[in-house]
């Protein structure tokens, strides 16, 4: 049944996609993010780009006009760490749970022993759990149903990364519409996704966190040597042994930045130190304990992608378990992390993490706002900040002339739970989100 609905939705979205070459949203409230709010103004879109924005814009005769009275225009939302477009990848593997990390999972054991499992790795030379050369832009599939779901919720863009393994691969910035994968790609590669995963076993390197860290360090050393050896060989091959081609290292060298997992303060300290040692531009992802780490993040000038799936009490946990003060504090305070980051001046962006719908995502953002995050900072963390972190703020993240026409148009405050997304523009193409089917049990009866 769900499948049928999903298909219908996807078709409906395609059906409403229109592509006139120029559109103006007139007399709307405009929130450009990069500048002050325009209470009544016009945005003109032409050929996929923003042609003009302002309180008084002359609209050419060939432009389709949308009456924006009562509507608000925001930049399209960006999921700052995602697998949208890569349906084979589960929601980004959350960095090791904030407490009680470690221990091997059934999946890890299966991966070690399954019939199709790669032979066990005996050391860094075997390049365990590595697909650093994989590029999101080569893997994108337009058929991923989640693309439509998130676009309906106002998301126009995602920083999409392969996420399986230690060096999982390279991410791309993709727009959430397009008939061919190539049309979706805005920029790539934008970074290497690294996780601290381990085999968890005694038969397969690395089996421990320190093994994983040692492996990553060796790969970066190898990449440095590889680069130097290749350039020496290119200059003067005579008398030199030919350096072996290594796709792992090619993938490392191509990546402009590395994404490192850090949920706890201890992990933030560790990863900041590690990235500095590796001399790599880096971005941290996770950020559960940002509420007590803002100063150190500021000091390290570390950008952070904050997982919007706030830590929750496990439903399967022992109800009689006496939890530590730290665990209790983590759950109580995690949503206040973003406001602490904003106050300290740390650059941060939000990502959906394990959340599967835009509604859940916005609810999670609301939680951060209830814990002190200003609305403008919340909006920035879903628009201009991720664009800046990935170096694409020249084309995405705000409503400015010349940027890509990714917009979300609502009938009110984006963060209000009664607000409805009226239109979504992706690369200038207009989508009208279809109302979600009414719940099977009528809500009205509940209150009686």
């Amino acid at each position: 049944m769900t499948k049928v609905i999903g298909l219908t939705l996807a078709c409906a979205c395609l059906a409403v996609a229109e592509a006139p070459s120029a559109v103006a949203i007139k007399d709307a409230r405009i929130v450009p993010v990069s500048g002050p709010v325009i209470e009544k103004g016009t945005v003109v879109i032409r050929d996929g780009l923003i042609e003009a924005v302002g309180p008084s814009v002359t609209i050419a005769p060939d432009v389709w006009v949308v009456d924006g009275t009562g509507l608000t225009v925001y930049p399209g939302l960006i999921d700052a760490l995602s697998t949208l477009g890569l349906p084979d990848m589960a929601p980004p593997a959350a960095p090791a749970p904030a407490r009680g990390a470690g221990g091997r999972t059934a999946a890890a054991v299966a991966a070690t022993l399954g019939p199709n499992a790669p032979p066990p790795s005996r050391g860094p030379e075997d390049r365990p759990a590595t697909t650093s050369w994989a590029k999101a832009e080569d893997l994108i599939q337009t058929s991923d149903r989640r693309i439509g779901t998130f676009r309906n919720g106002g998301f126009t863009t995602a920083a999409t990364f392969p996420n399986k393994g230690i060096f999982a691969g390279q991410g791309a910035i993709v727009d959430l519409a397009g008939e061919k994968p190539g049309q979706m790609v805005v920029a790539g590669p934008v970074g290497q996704y690294v996780s601290m995963s381990t085999s968890g076993s005694f038969g397969n390197f690395p089996g421990s966190l320190m093994g994983t860290i040692a492996y990553i360090r060796q790969v970066y050393l190898d990449a440095g040597q590889y680069k130097a050896a290749r350039s020496m060989y290119a200059k003067n091959a005579r008398g030199l042994a030919r350096p072996e081609y290594d796709r792992t290292l090619e993938g490392i060298i191509e990546s402009p930045r590395v994404l490192l997992p850090a949920n706890r303060t201890v992990e933030m300290v560790r990863m900041i130190r590690f990235a500095n040692e590796l001399k790599q531009p880096f971005v941290l992802y996770g950020g559960n304990e940002a509420y007590r780490s803002a100063d150190l993040l500021k000091q390290a000038n570390a950008p952070v992608l904050v997982d919007l799936k706030w830590p929750e009490k496990s439903r399967d946990g022992d109800p009689d378990e006496v939890e530590t003060h730290r665990t209790l504090e983590l759950r109580a305070k995690a949503p206040s992390g973003p406001s602490e980051l904003a106050k300290a001046g740390v650059r941060f962006a939000f990502y959906t993490g394990g959340l599967t719908t835009p509604k859940e995502t916005m609810r999670a953002v609301k939680k951060a706002m209830d814990a002190g995050l200003k609305q403008e900072d919340a909006l920035r963390a879903m628009t201009l900040s991720p664009a800046e972190i990935y170096g694409v703020a020249d084309r995405l993240g705000s409503i400015e002339k010349g940027k890509i026409a990714n917009l979300v148009v609502t009938n009110g405050d984006l963060f209000h739970d009664k607000t409805v997304v009226k239109y979504v523009f992706v690369d200038g193409v207009k989508f009208e989100p279809v109302e979600e089917p009414a719940p099977t049990t009528p809500r009205t009866r509940e209150g009686q």
Partner: protein, 447 residues
């Protein structure tokens, strides 16, 4: 306002870097016992020790009347404060290191501190013939990972002999390949092979450096994180801490080390050390053992509680270790056992957990005894630390109080209240959110 407070603190810290511990029995370990004496601490170092000291006006006074001050306890074998211990997938895991995974928020640090421990050697596990790199830390609770590191300490590496690296007792998961080695002979082979590789690696760098000197076109060798620490061992820049039990394997390792021209810094556990104490002393290896733990596995059957005393009498530098977060909190009573088993003197017994491990870790110019110029790492007990009724009252590291029993107990009420409030808040939140959950709660459905 906040700025103003900060300035006040700064002034206070600058004006009173002097602390004086008064009226205590001072167990210096190396310079005898001072009755009713005082210790002056300036800039984190011990400035004066004696029955008459010149305490400057305005110094912070710790009155230790009727109490005992000893040097902070040193544990030469611990696995606390680390997020992983064993990289067990390979027989030689020297590429990994504890420093990468230090967990400065491990509560075991605070508990060790509350037992008087101020310095600990954090070792990789014993799953491999050659294990990972080790770190010496101070139990500076509240500092981050780099703040824990004992600055200037010599890096170490873990070796392991016997049942653990050969893993003959380990159950194998079907389909999983058994790891070499499977015998004690194999353990020796793995160590020798690794050092053969290390020597080749060492030579490859030598050749490269010579080529560079001659201005030849040369690509540098690949840096190998597995072999680099072993080259450091060969060059005497990294200490070997070797887990071992039986006399035969101890002699094997000493022979291997002699063959390759390096030293074993400490033998860890070394339960049959009493059988080969002369050979251990001749090699110059230290021994870090348990007080009276035996028969817990086949290779521990010949252990005796006289081990520490016998090795001491044969001229081996001996320490007692915990290898365990719980035992770590009462190493003073472990030391006391050597009075009964082997008749060590009180000072000799306390040396096993202070100056001796300090020497084994080559940090004895900084810690391990109460002497002028050393770090003010001190444990204050209410009774003589060799008494099993003794409780730690305060612990100082670098002159700063890191544990204070009175303060801990008085704050406990507030801590409990804060925790209770968090639990209540969460419960309240759950109640608030409950009605908003999707339909399906049968009780709320109209009949």
């Amino acid at each position: 306002m906040r700025h103003f407070v900060a300035v006040l603190f700064a002034v206070a810290a600058a004006a009173a870097p002097v602390t004086v511990i008064q009226n205590a029995t001072i167990l210096t370990i190396t310079k005898g016992t001072v009755k009713n004496g005082s210790i002056v601490i300036r800039d984190g170092k011990i400035a004066e020790v004696g029955d008459k000291v010149s305490a400057p006006a305005g110094a912070q006074i710790i009155d230790a009347g009727g109490q005992f001050v000893m040097p902070g306890i040193i544990d030469c074998h611990s696995h606390i404060a680390a997020e992983s211990i064993n990289e067990g997938s390979v027989s030689v895991s020297s590429m990994v290191g504890i420093e990468d995974v230090l967990n400065s928020e491990d509560i075991a640090i605070y508990r060790a501190l509350a037992g008087g421990v101020t310095t600990a050697n954090i070792l990789h596990g014993s799953a491999n013939s050659i294990g990972g790199k080790c770190s010496v830390i101070k139990t500076r609770w509240g500092k981050d990972a780099s703040g824990l590191i004992f600055e200037g300490s010599t890096p170490g590496i873990k070796f392991a002999l016997g049942e653990n690296p050969k893993r003959s007792g380990a159950s194998t998961i079907p389909g999983m390949r058994a790891r070499y080695p499977a015998t004690r002979m194999g353990v020796e082979d793995v160590i020798r092979e690794a050092f053969n590789d290390a020597k080749v690696y060492q030579a490859s760098w030598r050749v490269y450096r010579e080529k560079v000197k001659r201005h030849e076109n040369a690509i540098p060798p690949r840096r190998d994180l597995k072999l680099e620490p072993l080259v450091e061992v060969l060059e005497g820049k990294r200490f070997v801490h070797a887990h071992c039990y039986r006399a035969d394997e101890i002699l094997m390792l000493l022979r291997v080390a002699d063959d390759y021209g390096f030293k074993i810094r400490t033998l860890q556990h070394v339960l049959e050390g009493y059988k080969v104490a002369k050979e251990i002393a001749a090699h110059g290896a230290g021994a870090s053992t348990f007080s009276d733990w035996w028969s817990y596995k086949i290779e521990a059957y010949d252990a005796i509680p006289f081990n520490a005393a016998i090795m001491t009498r044969k001229g081996v530098l001996v320490s007692l270790n915990s290898d365990d977060a719980e035992l770590m909190r009462r190493l003073n009573t472990e030391a006391a056992k050597t009075l009964k088993y082997g008749g060590l003197s009180e000072t000799e017994a306390l040396s096993l957990i202070t100056i001796n491990p300090a020497k084994q870790l080559a940090v004895d110019t900084r810690v391990g005894s109460i002497e002028v110029g050393k770090d003010a790492d001190l444990a204050i007990f209410d009774k003589h630390p060799l008494s099993n009724y003794a409780k730690v009252q305060k612990v100082l590291i670098d002159g700063t109080v890191y544990f204070d029993r009175d303060k801990e107990q008085s704050e406990q009420v507030q801590k409990d209240a804060r925790k209770k409030a968090l639990i209540e808040k969460e419960k309240q939140q759950q109640r608030d959110e409950a009605p908003r959950r999707p339909a399906g709660a049968p009780a709320r459905r109209p009949a």
